[in-house]
């Protein structure tokens, strides 16, 4: 049971305070938190204990969402709720920063009022909230000028709150019906010091953007659903069809949402390789990094980047690349942006590092973090078979896309 929620700006100022129960939480907790946060630096855990309260904190775009409680409660409930608040506000305000919150604090209060009562989360479904409190967008502003009705509270209570499909209202109408399905995958991989791929897995999401009239019933099937190791669904997905035939059957919410997330583990290879080499002798270290395509996925690999942090014992570095741009910041973090890997030559970065006085060899080695993006393919191999729509007045437009990018892709040296 949460007792209070604070929104803090990136300078620690209290932008908003929402007391939830009879036990008022004093504002001084925020300055305690702020001092503590500064003293901890990056090591600040999301759940901390202050002398008087237990605090949950979630930081998004410089805005700190801080919730306080004094009683035992499921920690994920607190954290998950704060994440939802952040998501809903981002959705409502078209972004999230100090100014947006300060300009719209009345709306933020209204939203919080509906999202949580007496410390217990109530409605966090954006579609329902949207019907209770109109977002402050340009359309409604224009509308209010035209109609003279400037209230952003809708006159009626949402129909969906009481319906059995709480994520959707039944009276949506579009002249042009469209639905887009995107497979977005992130590859996490670790290559160890010996150059062996020790971990490679994909975390993927099926994102749907639907603009469909009425109460459509959709069925999505995959060619190879058996490769999925674990799946999680949006509440709209019916469990039984998946259980028996691995079919996703659902009535979609309106707009953009995450239909399903999945994991595919134990992949055998990565689309590109990064081979760092460091040899040091009498205070000088030679560094070379080679990048190339290992398994051609058949689509262009672009936005290739390699980032690494030079150890503090490196005094100076002289590195050049034959392709792309290379930058070193003063804190010795290096970024090599290659972009698209050229067909005719293998990109390489090489040069020397000078070690600090008295140090013969380099003992501490950088980890190379790799980024890439491949449009048009899901590297896990997951393929959509077909999408069927029922309950629609006219034929809708269906669009499919796929994208794979690097998640936590690291190569140790």
């Amino acid at each position: 049971m949460l007792q209070c929620i604070f929104l803090l700006s990136d300078s620690g100022e209290v932008m908003l305070e929402k007391q939830l129960t009879g036990h008022r939480v004093d504002r001084s907790i925020c300055s305690w938190y702020w001092d503590y946060a500064i003293s901890q630096g990056d090591q600040l855990a999301p759940v901390i204990a202050s002398p008087t309260h237990y605090l949950f904190q979630v930081v998004r775009e410089g805005v700190t969402f801080l919730a306080c409680t004094q009683v035992e409660m499921p920690p994920l409930m607190g954290i998950e709720f704060l994440c939802r608040v952040a998501d809903v506000l981002t959705d409502y305000l078209g972004g999230l920063n100090e100014d947006l919150i300060k300009d719209n604090f009345v709306i933020v209060y209204e939203i919080l009022d509906e999202m949580i009562d007496n410390g217990f989360p109530l409605i966090t479904e954006p579609n329902i909230l949207r019907e209770m409190i109109a977002p402050p967008n340009i359309v409604s502003k224009v509308l209010s000028v035209v109609t003279g009705n400037s209230s952003n509270v809708s006159e009626t209570l949402p129909g969906a709150a009481a319906s059995c499909v709480p994520w959707r209202t039944s009276d949506r109408k579009y002249t042009k019906n469209e639905v887009y399905v995107d497979l977005v995958e992130e590859m996490d991989a670790v290559t160890n010091r010996e150059g062996i791929l020790i971990k490679c897995q994909i975390y993927g999401e099926v994102q749907v953007n639907s603009h469909l009239s009425g109460l459509p019933d959709l069925t999505l099937t995959f060619v190879n659903p058996n490769i999925l190791d674990d799946v999680r669904f949006h509440p709209c997905v019916r469990f039984r069809p998946w259980e028996s035939h691995q079919i996703l059957s659902f009535i979609p919410p309106d707009g953009q949402f995450k239909l399903m997330s999945y994991r595919v583990k134990k992949l055998k290879s990565t689309p590109i390789y990064v081979k760092p080499q460091l040899t040091s002798d009498s205070g000088i270290c030679r560094l070379s990094v080679l990048v190339g395509v290992r398994n051609d996925p058949g689509k262009t690999i672009d936005s290739v980047t390699v980032q690494f942090q030079l150890p503090p014992c490196v005094v100076s570095a002289d590195l050049t690349s034959n392709c792309g741009t290379f930058n070193i910041l003063t804190n010795k973090s290096c970024t090599w942006s290659i972009g698209r890997i050229p067909k005719d030559k293998a990109p390489s970065l090489s040069g020397t590092l000078v070690l600090e006085n008295g140090l013969e060899h380099l003992h501490v080695f950088p980890t190379f973090q790799v980024g890439f993006r491949i449009m048009g393919i899901a590297l896990s191999g997951l393929q959509i078979d077909k999408l069927d729509l029922k309950n629609l007045p006219n034929r809708p437009y269906k669009g499919f896309r796929a994208l794979t990018r690097a998640g936590q892709f690291e190569v140790r040296s």
Partner: protein, 834 residues
């Protein structure tokens, strides 16, 4: 994730100071109050916005209460909402004015728009002014019967709010039984869920006083209700589902079939997108199958994948919370997770606290299987840029080595660390090699060969230096240079700042002396002389003790200082298995993240200043009243401990305070130091006399050390329950009382007494109760010495009108009360009070 670099909080210059603006607003609001001109709502709205933005940044706008209420007669919903917000914030401090709002709120409760009915009812029940409850009962009653579910939903929570303001009114109006009815019959699931949470809270609170209420509370766990809720579970909102699952986790099914039915029903909840819901489901599964070993194991297999997906899919904050729970499960059953060990490999970008959890899990798994792979992985971290993690991973390798029977490969790895020539790597490794030798003395030859090459000059960290010195003493017969290295250390006695190292040096030289007397006699002499002159009490005492022991009989001295040792078979686990089980029972709670059962952290703080601060206004300054209050709290506490049932932990948490020396210290050292403590009582005054006879070792002592005044250090995690406090307060005499002048700054700071309490807690002085009303504040503090269970109790009365603070200090140990009072005064003046 961690917040970006932050500047410390400062009051921003753009903030208006308040006064002028507020009176400005006041007059503007007054002008608008009666106006019915077109467009007046818009101007009102701007003004209201201003008022609320002032309120938000912390300016006191309560003086506008009357004007705000006058302006609230409007049909504009946004205006109404802002007004409700304002009223809710200030009604408690302005009970008389709050009466003014009742009228319009009651009228709004009958509005034709259900949204307004609901909002008004919510605001009305949020006023929390005790003498206005009579106006609340009627609207709540009709709200519960409202045709719109939104209003009913608000009304149900309103009942809970009413209960917290005045439980008697709530019970007299018979609301609980109406809710019970509603819970079973209402169509709207949110109303049902709110009824459930309200009833749970009311019956739990009432249960301590009345048989009937506790029966009602238990009735919530009856089979028909549980089944009713479970069968409809998918209709509830995800949060309400969490609530229901929490209830189900407490339900005891009558047989195995029932257990399987429930699990089958909930199976798909494991794939829900809401992490809180997934964890709540897992808790139900784990609790239901506790007594069915095979099924319990299958449950682990089943929940593994969802948990691992949650870790990799959520935001960093969510991952952390899930990882905390995964950590608990892995520690309980490492075998079951062994095939997934790669999930716990650390990624470069992860935060320290995440990596640390992962390292611990890897360590647990490695002790069972995949040892080679995991140790290889951990060794890579040791060469990482991230120094704290490098240290942690070396420790992890050491831990695995200590749990493994086949340690060959690991010892080689550890010794390779020493060749990396990184100071922190060497330091960590030395400590581990020492522990390893205590468990596997047979490895001494390999280790000593490598350790012997390390120059003690390169090691700065006290723990590592102590470990090296211990090895030098323990294996001095095998290490050629041992006496000479020790001698050079003894010669530089004054450069050695850590008492721990000096203590070890004394013991190591003693051991060395028994094995190779001619080579180490001189060094021992130097060390004993320096030790006796040492200003640190322990070092001084130990040196003197050794000296006398040697004078008495060298062979007895050898038996005391260097007895034959047995290899340590198992190092003590810092956490008992009882505590671990207890945390497991509290799955899906904060205890898991703090890795402590909740009674260890919730009770004290929750029952400390919190309960009192809310009643700050009711407490008078007479001591007997506050004593009664302490007593009441004491009863409360007793009840809660008896509820906790069968666990035999002392509530006063001796397990909570850290041991004064850690387990990695060699056994001999701690043995002798405790022997020492027994033998050596108040002898140091005679030091000069006994030192006169220093012929044996040729000590060249000329001056007697003046005994240093004992410094007082306090235990930052002191625990004292209110009952004991009260008892001690009665028994002990006042050992010190003083009166201090309070600075104007201090007076100002007392507008928020919480800040003072937090500050004092930062100085290891804990507040157990506060009371009083401006201008007289009263605080009861307590503190404990860090080494022993010796309490200091303080009563501190601060009068802001006369700027005086009166203090009475009582102490278990009267001698140190002066030192404590100095500490207390320093703490107060650091806060700006004096």
């Amino acid at each position: 994730m961690a917040p970006p670099a932050r500047s410390s909080q400062s009051s921003s210059p753009s903030q208006p100071s308040g006064k002028g603006e507020v009176s400005d607003l006041k007059s503007q609001l007054r002008q608008l109050a009666g106006s019915r001109a077109p467009g007046v709502d818009d101007s009102k709205r701007d003004l209201f916005k201003k008022v609320i933005s002032y309120m938000t940044i912390g300016i006191d706008v309560s003086s506008l209460f009357g004007e705000m209420v006058m302006c609230s007669a409007t049909s504009d919903v946004v205006l109404k909402k802002m007004c409700y917000l304002y009223v809710g914030n200030y009604a408690k401090v302005n009970p008389d004015l709050a009466l003014l709002t009742i009228n319009f709120l009651q009228r709004d409760c009958k509005d034709e728009d259900p949204m307004i009915r609901g909002l008004a009812l919510r605001s009305l029940s949020s006023l929390r002014v005790p003498n206005l409850v009579e106006y609340l009962v009627g609207p709540l009653g009709s709200g519960l019967k409202d045709s719109n579910s939104y209003v009913r939903m608000v009304a149900v929570i309103g009942v809970l709010k009413l209960y917290h303001i005045s439980s008697a009114t709530c019970m007299d109006a018979d609301f609980p039984s109406i809710l019970k009815n509603l819970m079973i019959n209402d169509r709207d699931t949110q109303v049902v869920a709110n009824c459930l949470s309200t009833l749970q809270e009311i019956w739990t609170a009432e249960g301590s006083n009345s048989e009937e209420a506790s029966r009602e509370r238990d009735a919530l766990l009856c089979k028909p209700l549980i089944y009713y809720l479970l069968n409809r579970i998918k209709e509830f909102s995800e949060w309400a589902q969490c609530l229901i699952l929490e209830l189900v986790a407490k339900y005891v099914p009558s047989g195995n079939n029932e257990i399987f039915d429930i699990m089958n029903l909930l199976e798909d909840r494991l794939q829900h997108a809401n992490g809180a819901l997934v964890l709540a489901t897992i808790k139900v599964f784990l609790q239901l199958t506790l007594l069915m070993t095979d099924v319990h194991q299958q449950v682990y297999e089943r929940i593994k994948a969802p948990l691992l997906t949650l870790v990799s899919s959520g935001s960093p904050e969510q991952s952390y919370a899930v990882l905390g729970h995964l950590h608990l499960l892995v520690m309980r059953a490492p075998m079951l997770f062994s095939s997934d060990y790669k999930h716990f490999y650390c990624q470069y970008n992860e935060a320290f606290y995440v990596k640390k959890l992962k390292l611990e899990m890897l360590t647990a798994i490695a002790s069972e299987s995949y040892t080679y792979e995991i140790v290889t992985e951990l060794c890579e971290y040791a060469a990482n840029v991230d120094v704290p993690i490098a240290r942690e991973s070396i420790r992890a390798v050491g831990k695995i080595a200590l749990q493994q029977y086949d340690v060959n490969a690991i010892v080689d790895r550890l010794l390779q660390f020493l060749e990396m020539e990184k100071d922190y790597v060497t330091a960590e490794t030395l400590v581990l090699v020492k522990d390893l030798l205590r468990k596997y003395p047979q490895w001494s030859h390999d280790c000593i060969a490598v350790v012997g090459n390390i120059s003690s000059k390169n090691i700065q960290e006290p723990k590592a230096k102590a470990a090296l010195i211990w090895m030098l003493g323990e294996y001095s017969q095998d290490m050629q240079d041992a006496p000479y290295i020790l001698e050079s250390l003894a010669e530089n006695w004054d450069d050695e700042h850590s008492p721990e190292v000096r203590l070890h040096l004394l013991t190591a030289l003693m051991k060395c002396f028994f094995k190779r007397p001619p080579e180490s006699q001189k060094a021992l002499g130097i060390a004993l002389a320096a030790g006796v002159a040492d200003f640190h009490q322990d070092v001084h005492d130990r040196a003197l003790f050794y000296y006398r022991l040697l004078r008495y009989d060298i062979s007895i001295a050898e038996r005391v200082v260097n007895p034959p040792k047995q290899a340590v078979s198992v190092f003590a686990d810092p956490q008992s298995s009882e505590i671990k089980d207890r945390i497991f029972d509290e799955f899906n709670s904060l205890s898991v993240l703090y890795q402590k059962p909740s009674y260890m952290f919730t009770d004290k703080e929750h029952r400390g200043p919190f309960e009192f601060s809310d009643e700050l206004g009711n407490l008078s300054i007479e001591p007997d009243v506050s004593a009664q209050h302490v007593e009441a709290d004491d009863e409360d506490l007793l009840l809660s401990t008896s509820e906790k049932g069968d666990v035999g932990f002392p509530l006063n948490g001796s397990s909570y305070s850290a041991p004064s020396y850690d387990s990695s210290k060699p056994l001999t050292a701690s043995n002798t130091s405790s022997d020492l403590a027994i033998l050596e009582t108040g002898v140091h005054h005679q030091a000069s006399a006994s030192l006169a006879i220093d012929d044996l070792l040729g000590l060249g002592l000329s001056t007697t050390p003046a005994p240093a005044p004992p410094t007082l250090s306090l235990n930052p995690k002191a625990i004292l329950d209110p009952g004991t406090f009260q008892q001690k307060w009665r028994q002990l005499p006042v050992s010190l009382s003083l009166e201090l002048n309070v600075s104007p700054r201090g007076v100002a700071a007392l507008t928020a007494p919480q800040a003072l309490i937090m500050h004092m807690q930062g100085n290891s002085i804990h507040c157990i109760a506060t009371g009083g009303q401006s201008p007289n504040f009263k605080f009861f503090f307590f503190a404990q010495k860090s080494e022993e269970l010796s309490n200091f109790l303080v009563e501190c009365i601060i009068s802001t009108s006369s700027s005086k603070a009166q203090m009475k200090i009582k102490a278990d140990d009267q001698n140190s009360s002066q030192a404590f009072s100095a500490l207390f005064e320093t703490a107060l003046s650091n806060f700006g009070m004096l």
